[in-house]
Symmetry: C2
Subunit: 339 residues, 2 copies
DNA sequence: CGAAATCATGTTACCGTTATCGTGTCTCGC
DNA sequence: GCGAGACACGATAACGGTAACATGATTTCG
């Protein structure tokens, strides 16, 4: 490689001069667009390579009014669920020339607004964002932007443009059905108390509604704040079981605290799933390898990512009603009695 | 909000016309730069708001030759270690106006090249990338780019510009010392066999070197490919203990498989840490809440992210020798005998 | 064999912002 | 009461590409 320090950043002009053709032709070569003879193509490519030229997408984007970015806005990265979604998105975007750019909101609506604003200022060609609940400001920005918007994870509500996800009400209801069918009746719930975690809220609503239909009520609840961890799961489980020792089932709002609870219960010698059943939510891979497989619901994270990406990339059409509802799938595991 | 669908995207001109001042003044208001009277500022801001104007950073970046992005290039998101690094970076960048943009290489050098190329084409104002090993092409691109480059995680090698990390050789050596001091002698190793995971390799090298200095050799090794999981840790542990039943210590290349191994060993009734000791690497939060706390080494992930971000943001000066070596810290946990 | 189509390349006019410099209006101190 | 700054704003020229059209050279084919 050359060692002359290029204090003046390289432009198309440099490559054009080095290869004796016009800037336009260089541009064509570098983008594989239009007719260029094999000979000049070669000349240009070697010139570009030896100079170490890297195209300037800022200028290119301005001129062409097209930007190959897709904004992806999610609440958190440490959640273990969003990396999976991202994986699905990347996989599906890989052969489209589109590139995901991730923004994290930490479950804060106002931060969502600013992240969205920042993202839109790059004029991406699509937006994927978690959830159906957004501020007025955010909705206005998205309406104005005039680009494909896919809201993911949730389908219980009205999408701005398109939604891809599962019904969390249904997920809650279905697991409630399973629990009831297995004969459990004294049920407790452990979950986050984040007003902004709408999906957890909807799950619980669907869960309680279904219980109610069978005349069953939640016997106890335990809420916590902040991130989920095994430790948190242990503490809350101990607390709820101390308070209500005759519970026969614990429904957790996610697998991580569920797993913590499971470990604690096993150490305490509870008869699982005989006397006490447990269930989480998400279906994270972490569960494989625990002493018992926690009962849970697969939230279809990767599929959600894929379908959302396919829609922004126009690999598949936006459905008529703007809804792609995937089916949450029940994973029985070992912590619920077999029906 | 207004409901006239703006098919033509909004520009500064629209805001300028709506507020009766020049585009230049609007620009000044929106960036808080230069002198603008309070009255016009107000006029402009309300006009911008009611129109729903979002500035175009593509055009802005081109004109100003300044872009508030920092490219962050890491091998993986599902690794549980990089989200922490990212957290540190974001936290430190938050008040600088800089914004991280993440690219993932999946431990593939050629993918690293393309990701880097794509990132540089956005002319970011800095690059943070994992590791000290990069292709010739990548080094050339970074040399040419003329911007701050911080390589993170590792300091065993020669940085292009600046490196922030821990010495993995040292981390390996230190844990070896602890293990030897605790009296273990028949030691096995379980880790990935990814030629591209240079840091794991260096850790093992430092580990074995230290053992060698005490006349001890690894009794057995077990390698695996692909991602780490509890399940993988279980399988490999079973395999190695079947093959070499009289091992008295297992050193894992990361906490996740270490935790899997720990769970398996506990189920098998091994006397831990009496007859068998275990250690992982990373110090991930996941460990809290397991039946025993796994012995491990904190890789200082968040600190690494913070320091790297501080340097690209010029919050702190690049050190003379271009090296910021943090100290890996030994976390004794419960799976090693107390000295 | 000549007109039309094709190919390979160049010219020109933007894309939407910001840097820079210029201009008119106040304010102020002596 | 007047020159010198400060202040508030506008006009103009980039920034580095690409779209669209233009041009000369070749090829195609009735």
């Amino acid at each position: 490689m050359n060692n002359k320090k290029p204090r003046r950043p390289l432009t198309l002009r440099d490559v054009s001069e080095a290869s004796g053709v016009s800037e336009m032709t260089v541009s064509r070569v570098l983008r594989n667009r239009g007719d260029v003879s094999a000979a000049t193509r070669e000349k240009v490519l070697t010139a570009a390579r030896t100079l170490g030229y890297v195209p300037n997408k800022i200028a290119g984007g301005l001129a062409s009014k097209r930007v190959n970015l897709v904004a992806v806005i999610i609440p958190s990265l440490s959640n273990m669920v969003f990396p999976d979604v991202l994986g699905g998105i990347s996989a599906e975007l890989d052969d489209t020339g589109l590139q995901p750019v991730v923004g994290v909101t930490n479950y804060s609506p106002s931060r969502e607004d600013t992240v969205l604003y920042d993202m839109l200022s790059w004029r991406p060609s699509g937006v994927i964002l978690a959830g159906l609940e957004h501020s007025k400001v955010a909705r206005a920005m998205l309406d104005n932007a005039g680009l494909p918007v896919v809201e993911i994870m949730d389908v219980d509500g009205t999408p701005i443009d398109t939604a891809v996800g599962i019904s969390h009400r249904r997920a809650g209801a279905e697991i409630a059905t399973e629990i009831l069918n297995a004969g459990y009746r004294r049920i407790g719930f452990i979950g986050t108390h984040m007003p902004e975690d709408h999906r957890a809220r909807k799950r619980l609503a669907g869960f309680e509604e279904r219980l109610g239909e069978s005349g069953v009520q939640l016997v106890a609840r335990e809420y916590y704040q902040g991130g989920s961890s095994l430790q948190k799961g242990r503490e809350l489980t101990e607390r709820i079981m101390t308070r209500e020792p005759d519970l026969d089932f614990l429904y957790y709002s996610n697998d991580m605290i569920g797993a913590g609870g499971l470990l604690w219960c096993l150490e305490q010698g509870y008869d699982i799933p005989g006397k006490l059943g447990l269930a989480g939510f998400n279906g994270v891979e972490l569960l494989d390898g625990l002493p018992m497989r926690l009962t849970t619901t697969d939230a279809r994270r990767i599929d959600i990512g894929r379908r959302a990406a396919r829609i922004v990339a126009s690999k598949e059409p936006r459905p008529e009603n703007g809804m792609v509802a995937l089916a949450p799938t029940f994973l029985p595991g070992d912590t619920i009695r077999k029906a």
